[in-house]
C-alpha cells in the first residue's frame, strides 16, 4: 500500500532537506520512493510543497486531492492551505509557528490565528508541536525541519525499519550543524 506524505512550509524552512533525509531512509528500507518538489519562483517566500510517496511500487510522482495519509506543516496556516490533500482518516502534524505573508504584513488580509482549532475540530488527528521554538532553544532555529522529521518518523513507525536515521542526518546536513540537528531530531521524536 502506497503511503502519501505532504510536507508544506514557507520557502527557506528546509522542507526539501527534510524530504531528502526521509527518502534516503526509505530507500534503505527497500521501498520504492518518489518525491516531487517545485523549485524556482515559489521559493521566494511563497508556499513550498514537497510530496513524497513510498510503497512496494510507486507510479505517479505527485499526490492528488484527498490522497495524503499525512501532512507535515512547518507553519500552521500552511497546514490549513494543504488540507485539500488530506484523505478522510489522515493525520496532520504541524508546528504552531506563524509566518505572516505579505498581504497580512501590509494589512490587506488577516492571518487566521485560530485556524488550528478549526483543523482539530474537523480532522481529529492533529498534533501541534513547537518545533521552531525547540530548535531555537537548542541553538539553531533552522533545525526546526529535523525536529519535525523526528515527530514524523515516530508517527509513521519508521523507527522500526532497521534504519539509523541519525546516520542519514549526519550524512546530509552540513558538518557544523550536525549536533544541533541530532538534538532536534530527538526532541521531535519525543514530543
Amino acid at each position: 500500500m502506497t503511503k502519501n506524505i505532504i510536507l508544506v512550509g514557507v520557502g527557506g524552512q528546509g522542507t526539501i532537506l527534510t524530504t531528502k533525509v526521509l527518502s534516503k531512509g526509505l530507500v534503505e528500507m527497500g521501498y520504492d520512493v518518489k518525491m516531487s518538489e517545485i523549485h524556482g519562483m515559489s521559493q521566494r517566500g511563497g508556499t513550498v510543497t514537497t510530496q513524497l510517496r513510498y510503497g512496494e511500487k510507486v507510479y505517479a510522482p505527485n499526490i492528488g486531492d484527498h490522497e495524503a495519509d499525512l501532512i507535515i506543516a512547518f507553519e500552521k496556516m500552511e497546514a490549513l492551505r494543504a488540507l485539500f490533500y488530506l484523505k478522510k482518516g489522515g493525520a496532520i502534524i504541524t508546528d504552531d509557528k506563524e509566518i505572516f505573508p505579505m498581504p497580512v504584513l501590509t494589512g490587506e488580509q488577516e492571518y487566521p490565528e485560530d485556524c488550528l482549532d478549526d483543523l482539530k475540530a474537523t480532522v481529529g488527528d492533529v498534533t501541534v508541536i513547537k518545533a521552531a521554538e525547540k530548535a531555537a532553544e537548542l541553538g539553531n532555529v533552522k533545525a526546526q525541519n529535523i525536529c519535525l522529521l523526528g515527530a514524523l518518523i515516530k508517527k509513521l513507525g519508521l523507527d522500526k525499519g532497521g534504519v539509523d536515521w541519525k546516520e542519514i542526518i549526519k550524512a546530509t546536513v552540513p558538518a557544523k550543524v550536525v549536533d544541533v540537528n541530532l538534538a532536534a531530531f530527538d526532541a521531535g521524536y519525543n514530543m
Binding site: 518525491m35 505527485n62 498581504p103
Partner: protein, 589 residues
C-alpha cells in the same frame, strides 16, 4: 557500481551525460532545467559552462559536436524559442559527436510565462524526440540518445517536464564511458549550410528519419504491455505514470519513449488489438494527432484537458466513473502567500522609489526576480513578455503613447543576466533611435531567480574556474550613449534612486539607470554582513506604518507598533529606516 540512489530527473540527465562520455555541456539557466548543468561540475571531465543565452549555448555545442565531442545543451521550453534558429539548421548538419538538446517544459506554468509543448519542435526541426517518464529513464534515454544521434546522423531532443525534472526516484548507476572524441574531418558539403549544400542535406535528413521510424517500431523504449485488451492506452512521459496509477494492470498500454518519428506500425498493431483507445498526454494532442492520422479512432483532448499539468486524479475523472476519495473542508481560509522579494533585496529599493513616480511612467518588465514587483504593494509592471523584452517593448510603447497624446514615459527594466541574455541588443536599438524611454538595468551581480548561476558579469564560471568579468556598465557605455544619460545608483539609497528616476522622467530622450547592489542571498555578501540587522525601538515607534510601505518580509506590525519579526533574514539594508521620521529604526551590528 550498480549502486541505487535517489535522483531528480535533472540529476539523472547530468549523470546520463557523464556515463555517456560527454565532453561538452552548455546551458542558460531556466526553471525547470537549471539543475542539470548545476550538477555537471562534479564530473570534472566534462567542460560545462553557462552561456549568455540559449542560442549561444546551442551554437557552442554545435561547434563541439561537429568537432567530435558528445554534447549536452539544456534549456527551459521558452529558451528553445531563442535557440530555435540554429537548431532548425543544425538538424541538417547532423552529428559528428552525438548531440542532445534538453527541453524542460513547464505544463502548469509553475515558473513560466506560457506552457508551450515543445514536442512540436521535433517535427519542424527534424529531430529524434525522446520522452522519459522518470529519473531512471532520464539517465537511460540520454545514453541511448547519443547512440541514436551518432548512428543516424541526427540531433536528439530530450523533452522532459517539470514533474520529471523535479521529482526524485530511484536510479541505478553504471560505470561511465571514457570521454568520447571523434576525429574532426573537414566536410563542407555536410556542414556549410548554404542553399546548394542544404538542399542536399535535407534529402539525407528525410531518409535518415525514415530509418529511425523503422527503429521506433522495434525498439525497447516503445513498448506494448498487453493486459485486458478492451481498453488500450497510448501515452508518453510522466503521463504514463499517471495512467498506471489509475488503471494499474487492468488495461493494455503502448508506452512511447521515442515519439518523433512516430512508430506508425506499432500504433497500428496496438490499435487493432484493443477495442477502445485512449491517448493520455499532457499539453497538445501530439500523439493523438498521429494516431488519428493513421485512421484509428481514439479519445484524446476531447476527454483530457489541454491546459495545465496532468495528475492521476485528472486522468481518473476524465476517463472513468470512479469517484475521487473524500477529504475534509473547514470554514477558515488561509491568507494568500505569494512569493515576494527577499529581505534586503535591492529590487525593493527600485520598486519603492518607482511607486513615487507611478503616474508618470508606464512600466514594462522582464523575466527575473524583479517580476515579483508586479504584486502588492508595488504593482510595478504593466507588461512582461520574455527575456530582453523589458528593453524593447518600451521602444514601441513610446510610439503608441505619443499617437494618443499620452505624456507618460515608458520605463523598461531587466536584470544583469537578462541584459547579457538579450537586453543588450534591445539597448542598442534604443540608443540608435534615441527613443524617449527610461531603461533600468537592475544589476544584482548574479542570475537570481533560478538560484544563483554565474553569468558574464561574474568572476568565476560554472566549474569554479576564473573567467573574465564583463561589466554591464561598460557594455552600456560601449553603445556610445552620452554619459549624461547614464545614471548609476544605489537602489537602496532612496535619495539617489528617486533623483535618477525624477531626472529621467523630466528629461527627454533615452535615459539609462543602472542600479548596482548585490543580491542579498550571495554567500560572500551574507558573510560580510555578519549579524547586521535593524531593530525597532518600541518607545520611539508611533505606529505610522511608513516603514511597512517598503513591504519587507522581515518587518511586521502588531499592537500598534512595527517590529522586526524575522531577525535572521533582516540584512540591515536600511531601506525601511529611511522612511522612519522618528528615528525608531536602529541598526544593530
Amino acid at each position: 557500481m550498480n549502486e541505487k540512489v535517489i535522483m531528480s530527473g535533472n540529476e539523472a540527465i547530468a549523470r546520463g551525460a557523464y556515463e555517456a562520455g560527454v565532453g561538452f555541456a552548455s546551458a542558460y539557466p531556466g526553471t525547470p532545467s537549471t539543475e542539470i548543468l548545476e550538477n555537471m561540475p562534479q564530473y570534472k571531465d566534462i567542460d560545462s559552462r553557462w552561456a549568455n543565452n540559449e542560442k549561444v549555448a546551442l551554437e557552442m555545442a554545435c561547434g563541439a559536436q561537429a568537432g567530435g565531442l558528445r554534447t549536452l545543451t539544456c534549456m527551459k521550453h521558452v529558451g528553445l524559442n531563442v535557440a530555435a534558429d540554429p537548431l532548425m539548421t543544425i538538424a541538417y548538419i547532423g552529428s559528428n559527436g552525438g548531440m542532445l538538446v534538453v527541453s524542460a517544459d513547464d505544463p502548469g506554468m509553475h515558473s513560466s510565462q506560457n506552457e508551450q509543448d515543445n514536442r512540436q519542435y521535433s517535427k519542424i526541426g527534424k529531430l529524434i524526440l525522446l520522452e522519459p517518464s522518470d529519473s531512471q529513464e532520464c539517465k537511460d534515454f540520454v545514453k541511448l540518445g547519443y547512440e541514436l544521434s551518432e548512428k543516424y546522423d541526427l540531433i536528439v531532443l530530450l523533452r522532459v517536464t517539470t514533474r520529471v525534472c523535479h521529482s526524485k526516484s530511484i536510479v541505478t548507476l553504471d560505470e561511465p564511458l571514457p570521454k568520447q572524441v571523434k576525429k574532426y574531418v573537414t566536410n563542407v558539403e555536410k556542414r556549410a549550410m548554404l542553399p546548394e549544400m542544404a538542399i542536399k542535406r535535407h534529402i539525407v535528413v528525410e531518409e535518415q528519419l525514415k530509418k529511425v521510424e523503422e527503429y521506433a517500431n522495434n525498439c525497447d523504449i516503445n513498448k506494448i504491455e498487453y493486459n485486458d485488451k478492451k481498453v488500450g492506452i497510448i501515452t508518453s512521459g510522466v503521463s504514463y505514470q499517471h495512467a498506471k496509477e489509475v488503471f494499474g494492470d487492468t488495461v493494455s498500454y503502448l508506452k512511447l519513449g521515442l515519439t518523433n518519428p512516430m512508430p506508425g506500425k506499432l500504433i497500428d498493431e496496438f490499435c487493432e488489438a484493443c477495442d477502445t483507445i485512449h491517448v493520455i498526454e499532457e499539453g497538445e494532442p501530439f500523439i493523438e494527432t498521429a494516431v488519428k492520422a493513421r485512421g484509428h479512432q481514439c479519445t484524446g483532448k476531447d476527454k483530457i484537458t489541454i491546459q495545465g499539468e496532468l495528475t492521476a486524479a485528472i486522468v481518473q475523472t476524465s476517463l472513468t466513473d470512479k469517484p475521487l476519495p473524500e477529504g475534509y473542508t473547514v470554514k477558515t481560509q488561509p491568507a494568500d502567500r505569494p512569493p515576494v522579494l527577499c529581505a534586503g533585496c535591492p529590487h525593493r529599493g527600485f520598486f519603492y522609489s518607482f511607486t513615487k513616480f507611478r503616474d508618470k511612467v508606464v512600466a514594462l518588465g522582464d523575466i527575473g526576480c524583479y517580476g515579483l514587483g508586479v504584486q502588492t504593494p508595488f504593482f510595478g509592471e504593466e507588461m512582461c513578455v520574455c527575456m530582453g523584452g523589458g528593453f524593447s517593448t518600451p521602444i514601441g510603447m513610446d510610439i503608441a503613447l505619443k499617437a494618443q497624446g499620452d505624456t507618460r514615459k515608458p520605463l523598461g527594466f531587466l536584470g544583469d543576466s537578462t541584459f547579457f541574455h538579450s537586453g543588450l541588443t534591445s539597448l542598442i536599438d534604443a540608443v540608435h533611435t534615441n527613443s524617449n524611454i527610461i531603461l533600468c538595468l537592475l544589476d544584482n551581480s548574479i542570475t537570481g531567480m533560478t538560484g544563483h548561476q554565474q553569468n558574464a558579469g561574474t568572476e568565476i564560471g560554472l566549474m569554479g574556474n576564473p573567467v573574465h568579468r564583463v561589466d554591464c556598465v561598460d557594455m552600456v557605455m560601449a553603445t556610445g550613449i552620452d554619459k549624461d544619460r547614464v545614471h548609476i545608483v544605489d537602489p537602496i539609497n532612496q535619495e539617489e534612486m528617486d533623483a535618477a528616476l525624477k531626472y529621467s522622467i523630466e528629461n527627454d530622450g533615452l535615459q539609462v539607470i543602472v542600479t548596482r547592489y548585490p543580491c542579498a542571498l550571495l554567500k560572500p555578501i551574507i558573510k560580510a554582513r555578519g549579524k547586521k540587522h535593524v531593530e525597532v525601538d518600541q518607545d520611539k515607534c508611533i505606529g505610522c506604518k511608513m516603514c511597512m510601505k517598503v513591504a519587507c518580509p522581515s518587518l511586521a506590525f502588531k499592537d500598534g507598533k512595527a517590529y522586526v519579526d524575522d531577525v535572521a533574514n533582516c540584512t540591515g539594508c536600511g531601506l525601511c529606516q529611511q522612511n522612519c521620521k522618528f528615528g525608531a529604526i536602529v541598526t544593530v551590528e
